[in-house]
Symmetry: C2
Subunit: 276 residues, 2 copies
C-alpha cells in the first residue's frame, strides 16, 4: 500500500460500549474527510470495574479486529482502556494510536488557574492514578482530586440524565471536589458529557469542564498529519463512509447510539470479539 | 464412574458475577454434604442488559468449563441466564440442570392470596416474560406485574444498600407495583435480596417477598434425589470443599464475595472463559 492509499484507509475507534460514539461524533465534526471503523464491546461492557489484566486482554482482541479491517490509526475512545491498557499496548504496535486520557489531562493542566483539578471517572481509571501523573508532567505543582462515579453510567443508561435522583447522586460525588476548590473538572468517562447539565448545577459556572473527546480529536489530527496519514478528501469510497461493529446487538445499545450520533446506525454489525 | 462415585462429584453453580454466591450460600446451608464448583463471569458482568444470543453463548462456554471440572449437576444461579438461555440449553444437555426462575415463580404462585404478583428483575429477564409464563402455568388466573430495576445492581455494588438515594430509587421502581395491589413480590435478580431492608420499607409488611435462592435449593435437592446423585456424606474429599472461579479478579468482586459468603474466598482462581 502506498502512503497515499494508506491515507484513505479508515481510523479504528473503540470503546467498552457505545459511549465512545461521543468521540466518533467529534472526529466526524473536526475531520469530515476521515472514515471510521467503530467497535463497541457491548457484550462485555462496562470496563470501569474490571482489572487491568482483563482490560489489556480485551483491548488486544479489539485491536486485532480493527487491524483486520485495514485501519491506518487507532483511537482508544474509552477512558478506562486508555488508563489501563494503552501504555502496555503501544510499544509493540505498528500503528499510531491515541487515547482519550492524555489529551484531556493536558487540556486541564492548561486550563486551570489555581492549579486544582478534579477528575471524575470509573473506578479503574481513578485507581490507575494516570490522570494525576499526566497532569503533573504538564503542571508539576497541580493538585489533582480524583473521584470514581460508578453510578453515573447506569443513570445515563437508565435514561435519567436529567432526573432529581441523578442530581442527588451528583451532589454526593462532586461536593468533595468543589469543596477542595477545584477550578477545572475532567469528565473522564465517555458517558459523563451526557450529564453536563446536572454536573454544571453542582459545580456552578466557575469550574471549567473538560470533555476529552474534543481534545483527543485535535490530538488525532496532529498525529495523522505527522505520519502523513491525513485524508485530503480526494478519494470518495463507495458505500457507507463509516462502519459500526458491536459484540452484542441489544436494542438498548442501538437506542443510546442513535441518541449520541446524528443519524440512524441500524446497519451496525455483530461480531464475536473473543475470536480475535 | 459408578453411580456412587458420581454422587460424590461437585455441583456446578454459575452466575454473571458474584451475586450468585447467595445461591451457593443457600446450597451450603441446606445441603451441607455437597461440594460446589462456582463460576462468576466477572469479566463480562452484567448480563441483565445484553441480548439472548449473547447470554446463550456465554452460558454454553461456562457449562463447557464446569463439565471439564467434572460436575454432576448444574445450577444457573443467574436470573437473566435462567430466563434467556436455560430453555435453549437444556434439551441437548447430558446433566441435570436447574435455574432460579422456575422455583421462584412456583413459590410465588403458591404464596399469593389475591393472585397479584410483582416481579423485579433485570431488563433481559423482564423482557423475556418467562416469569409471567411460568407463574401462569401454576396459577392460570394470576396477574403478573413486571418491573426492570437496572440501577439496583449498581447501587448494591456501590455499597449503598442502605442509603437514602437507594430508598428513593426503590420508591420510583416499586410504587407502580404496590399501587397495583400485589401481595407477593419475586426478588428476581441475585443482588436484590441484599436490598431486602429498603424494599421492605416501600412494600410494607403485607407483601410476601420471594427469594428464589431458597426455593431453587429445595428444587436442587429434589432433582439430585431423583437422579440418585445426592451425596450421603460418606466420602470426604481432600483439600478445599468448594472451588471458586472468576473470569476477572478485580478486588471489587472479592470484597462483595466475602460480604455474601461467611468465609474468605481468597483462593478464587482466574480463568479465561472465552477459551471454553
Amino acid at each position: 500500500m502506498t502512503k497515499i492509499e494508506q491515507a484513505y484507509a479508515p481510523i479504528g475507534v473503540f470503546d467498552s460500549g457505545v459511549g465512545g460514539l461521543t468521540v466518533a461524533r467529534e472526529i466526524m465534526r473536526q475531520l469530515p474527510n476521515e472514515r471510521i471503523v467503530y467497535f463497541g464491546d457491548t457484550a462485555r461492557v462496562p470496563y470501569g470495574n474490571k482489572s487491568k489484566e482483563t482490560i489489556i486482554r480485551f483491548s488486544r482482541q479489539i485491536i486485532r479486529f480493527l487491524k483486520a479491517k485495514g485501519v491506518k490509526a487507532l483511537v482508544v475512545a474509552c477512558n478506562t482502556a486508555s488508563a489501563l491498557a494503552l501504555e502496555e499496548i503501544q510499544p509493540k504496535l505498528d500503528l499510531p494510536i491515541i487515547g482519550v486520557l492524555k489529551p484531556g489531562a493536558k487540556a486541564a493542566a492548561e486550563a486551570t488557574k489555581n492549579g486544582k483539578i478534579g477528575v471524575i471517572a470509573t473506578e479503574g481509571t481513578i485507581a490507575s492514578q494516570l490522570y494525576t501523573k499526566v497532569i503533573q508532567t504538564h503542571a508539576p505543582r497541580a493538585q489533582v482530586f480524583g473521584k470514581a462515579c460508578p453510578l453515573f453510567v447506569s443513570l445515563v443508561e437508565e435514561g435519567w440524565s436529567n432526573d432529581p435522583v441523578t442530581l442527588q447522586v451528583a451532589h454526593r460525588y462532586l461536593e468533595p471536589l468543589t469543596e477542595s476548590g477545584i477550578d477545572t473538572l475532567i469528565l473522564g468517562c465517555t458517558h459523563y458529557p451526557l450529564l453536563t447539565g446536572i454536573i454544571r448545577q453542582v459545580t456552578g459556572d466557575k469550574v471549567t469542564l473538560i470533555n476529552p473527546a474534543y481534545e483527543t480529536t485535535r490530538g488525532l489530527h496532529k498525529m495523522l498529519k505527522e505520519h502523513g496519514l491525513l485524508n485530503d478528501g480526494a478519494y470518495l469510497p463507495e458505500g457507507d463512509v463509516h462502519q459500526f461493529y458491536v459484540s452484542d446487538a441489544a436494542d438498548k445499545f442501538k437506542k443510546l447510539a442513535n441518541y449520541i450520533l446524528p443519524y440512524d446506525i441500524d446497519t451496525t454489525q455483530l461480531i464475536h470479539i473473543e475470536e480475535y
